[in-house]
C-alpha cells in the first residue's frame, strides 16, 4: 500500500507539472462543453418561413402579421397549394411552413377551435424544435388575447409535423456526448500516452526490473486518471445542469456508476493501446484515429445512428461510446433505472473485460 501511494504521488507530479496534460485535463472539458453548449443554442433569428393560408380571413391575417412582426421570423413566402411544400423545403431557404386550415375563422367562431399546422425542416433538429416552440408561443399569446376579449375560450390547436427527422434526436445530445468524448480522451489517450512515455524514456524497464509486479505498475499509472476522470465527469454534469439546464431525471448514483464503468472501459482501451504502441506519438495517433474519431462520428453523439447506412450502423455496435451515450441519456433524460439499461451496461462490462484480457495477454507476450 505504501508503495502504491508512492507510485501514485509520482504519477500526480507528472500530471501537475506538465502544462499540456493539465490543459487537456481541465481546460478541455470546460472549453468543449461551453462551445457545444453555446453553439447548440436555442435562439433563432430571422428564419425564413412560408405560409399556406387556405382560409384567407381576417384572423389568419392577424396571426400572420404577429408572426411577421417578431424578430424570429422573416420574409413570409406565400404558397397556394400543399404540393408546393416539398419544393420550398428542397430549395433550402425556408425552414418551416405554416398551414392554416380551410375555414379557419369559421371553425374558430363556431367550434371555438381551429387548426394550424407547423411543418418544419428537421434536417437540423434543433432549429426545427425551436421554430415549433416559437410558433406555439406566438399562437398561445394570440389565443390568450382573444380569450381576454371574449367570454368563451377559443382554442387554436397547433399540430406540428417534423419532416425528415421525426424524433429530434440531438436534443440534449451534447452533454452526454461531450462527457463521452472527454472521458475517452482523458482515460484512454492520457493513460496510453503516460504509459508509453515510460517506455520511451526507458523508465518502464527500470520499473519492471524493480520488485513491483507489472500489474502494480499499470494500476499505479492508471489510478490517478480514474480519479481525474471522475472529477471531469462531475464538472461536465454540473455545467450541463446549471449552465445549460440539462435535466437529471434519473438516479445520480446510477449516472455515477455508469460513468465509472465507462471510465474503466476507456482505461482498459488506453492500456491496450499502450501495449501496442512504443512511442507517445504512436499512442496519440492510435488514440485519435481509432478512438476519438469513432467516438465523435459513430457513437450517435453528432450524427444519429439511425440515419447511417446499415454497414456503419453495424460497426457502431462495437464502439463502447455508443452504449455509454444510450445509457447516460436514458438515465439523465428519461429517468431510466438499471432494469431498463441492464443490457447496455452488460455490453460495456463485457467489452471492458475483453479489453483487459486482451491487454494482459499482449503484455505477457511482450515480456516473453
Amino acid at each position: 500500500m505504501k508503495r502504491f501511494i508512492g507510485f501514485v504521488t509520482k504519477e500526480f507530479y507528472h500530471i501537475f507539472r506538465d502544462k499540456r496534460t493539465m490543459f487537456i485535463l481541465f481546460g478541455m472539458p470546460i472549453a468543449q462543453i461551453m462551445l457545444f453548449g453555446f453553439a447548440i443554442t436555442n435562439e433563432i433569428n430571422n428564419v425564413n418561413i412560408a405560409i399556406l393560408d387556405q382560409s384567407k380571413d381576417t384572423e389568419t391575417q392577424k396571426i400572420i402579421n404577429t408572426i411577421n412582426a417578431s424578430k424570429y421570423f422573416d420574409s413570409m413566402q406565400e404558397i397556394s397549394h400543399e404540393s408546393e411544400i416539398e419544393n420550398v423545403f428542397k430549395k433550402g431557404k425556408v425552414k418551416a411552413v405554416l398551414v392554416f386550415e380551410k375555414d379557419f375563422i369559421k371553425n374558430l367562431e363556431t367550434k371555438k377551435q381551429a387548426k394550424v399546422q407547423v411543418i418544419t425542416d428537421a434536417t437540423d433538429p434543433n432549429i426545427a424544435n425551436t421554430i415549433t416552440n416559437y410558433v406555439n408561443a406566438i399562437l398561445q399569446n394570440y389565443t390568450q388575447q382573444l380569450n381576454q376579449e371574449e367570454s368563451t375560450a377559443y382554442f387554436i390547436q397547433t399540430q406540428t409535423q417534423l419532416y425528415y427527422n421525426p424524433e429530434l434526436k440531438s436534443v440534449f445530445n451534447f452533454v452526454p456526448g461531450v462527457m463521452t468524448v472527454i472521458l475517452m480522451l482523458v482515460s484512454a489517450m492520457m493513460t496510453s500516452i503516460s504509459i508509453t512515455r515510460e517506455k520511451e524514456l526507458g523508465t518502464m524497464e527500470v520499473l519492471l526490473v524493480s520488485p513491483l509486479k507489472p500489474f502494480q505498475v499499470i494500476i499505479g499509472k492508471v489510478f490517478p486518471y480514474i480519479f481525474l476522470s471522475i472529477i471531469n465527469a462531475t464538472v461536465i454534469v454540473l455545467l450541463g445542469y446549471f449552465v445549460f439546464k440539462m435535466p437529471i431525471v434519473g438516479s445520480i448514483f446510477l449516472v455515477a456508476f455508469e460513468s465509472i464503468l465507462f471510465i474503466v472501459t476507456a482505461l482498459s482501451l488506453g492500456i491496450l493501446i499502450s501495449t501496442i504502441a512504443n512511442s507517445q506519438q504512436t499512442a496519440m495517433m492510435i488514440s485519435l484515429f481509432a478512438l476519438m474519431l469513432p467516438v465523435i462520428i459513430l457513437s450517435g453523439f453528432i450524427f444519429p445512428i439511425s440515419s447511417m447506412p446499415l454497414p456503419l450502423q453495424i460497426i457502431s455496435n462495437v464502439i463502447p461510446a455508443k452504449w455509454f451515450i444510450i445509457i447516460i441519456k436514458a438515465v439523465m433524460l428519461k429517468g431510466a433505472t438499471l432494469e431498463v439499461i441492464w443490457k447496455e451496461t452488460l455490453i460495456l462490462i463485457g467489452m471492458t473485460t475483453f479489453f483487459i484480457a486482451l491487454s494482459t495477454k499482449k503484455y505477457k507476450i511482450r515480456l516473453e
Partner: protein, 244 residues
C-alpha cells in the same frame, strides 16, 4: 576477497522464431567482481542481460542470480539486484529528492531509511544546492551518477549497468568508474555492458559476445596475451574478424 559465485549461467538460450539471439552461453561471476559484458550491437548482450534481470524468459538453459533461479524466482532476483539502463532512467520532471523517494519507495524502503539514504547520497554527490531542482535541469554526467546511486539505494548484491557511460565526457566517465570501484570494494558485484573497449580494461574479467555466443572470457590481461594484442580494442577486432 571471498570467492563465492553470485551469478551462474548454464546453457542459456533465447530465440525469437528462427533467430537465436543468445546461443547456449555459460559463465560464472564471482561476488564483488566487476564483470565486463562486451559485444558489438546485436551480438545478444542486451538480450542476455534482460534474462538475468528477470524481464525476459529464457527459451532454454538456466541461470542462478544472487542465489535465485531466474525462471521461477524472478521476484526474489529482482529484490536483490539493482539496474541502471542504457537510457537515462530517472524522471526528468521530478526533483532529485522526489526521484530518490520514489525509487526507495518501490523497493520497499521505510520512510526513515529513505530519509537517511537521501541525506547520505546528496552529500556524497555534492548535490546539496540542487536537491530540490528538477532532474531534467542537471548535466548528463550528474544524472548518470545520480542514476547509479539510485540503483544502489536498496543495497543490492548485484548491480547491472547497461552501457552506463554512453554519451558522457571522459572526465565524468573516469569519475563514474571510480564510483564503480568503490562499490566493488564494498563487496557489490557489478555486471557492466559497454561499447568502450578502454573501459573493458577496468574490469576484473570480461566476456566478449559475438553473434549470440561467448567467444572469449578472461581477465583483460590474459585476453591480450592470448590474442597477442596491445589493447582490448585489438582483441575485440581480432575476435570479430575470426568469426567473419
Amino acid at each position: 576477497m571471498e570467492q563465492s559465485t553470485i551469478i551462474s549461467v548454464s546453457n542459456l538460450t533465447k530465440s525469437f522464431g528462427d533467430f537465436t539471439a543468445v546461443n547456449n552461453i555459460s559463465f560464472e561471476v564471482a561476488k564483488g567482481e566487476i564483470f565486463g559484458f562486451l559485444g558489438a550491437n546485436g551480438a545478444g548482450k542486451t538480450t542476455a542481460m534482460k534474462m538475468l534481470i528477470g524481464i525476459s524468459k529464457p527459451s532454454s538453459g538456466e541461470a542462478i542470480v544472487a542465489g535465485y533461479n531466474i525462471d521461477n524466482q524472478s521476484e526474489m532476483v529482482k529484490k536483490n539486484i539493482g539496474y541502471m539502463s542504457q537510457k537515462f532512467s530517472l524522471y526528468d520532471d521530478l526533483t532529485i529528492k522526489e526521484n530518490i523517494t520514489f525509487f526507495g519507495g518501490i523497493y520497499g524502503l521505510s520512510r526513515k531509511q529513505i530519509k537517511e539514504k537521501t541525506a547520505v547520497l546528496i552529500a556524497e554527490l555534492k548535490l546539496e544546492e540542487v536537491e530540490n531542482q528538477l532532474v531534467g535541469a542537471l548535466p548528463l554526467g550528474w544524472k548518470q551518477k545520480l542514476s547509479f546511486s539510485v540503483a544502489l539505494l536498496h543495497e543490492p548484491k548485484i548491480v547491472f549497468l547497461d552501457e552506463p557511460t554512453g554519451g558522457v565526457d571522459p572526465i565524468t566517465r573516469r569519475q563514474f568508474w571510480e564510483m564503480i570501484y568503490a562499490q566493488s570494494n564494498k563487496g557489490t558485484t557489478l555486471f557492466v555492458t559497454t561499447h568502450y573497449m578502454d573501459e573493458a580494461e577496468y574490469c576484473d574479467r570480461v566476456s566478449i559476445m559475438v553473434e549470440g555466443k561467448i567467444e572469449a572470457l578472461d581477465s583483460p590481461k590474459n585476453l591480450k596475451k592470448q590474442y597477442n594484442a596491445a589493447s582490448m580494442n585489438e582483441v575485440f577486432l581480432k575476435l570479430a574478424r575470426n568469426i567473419e
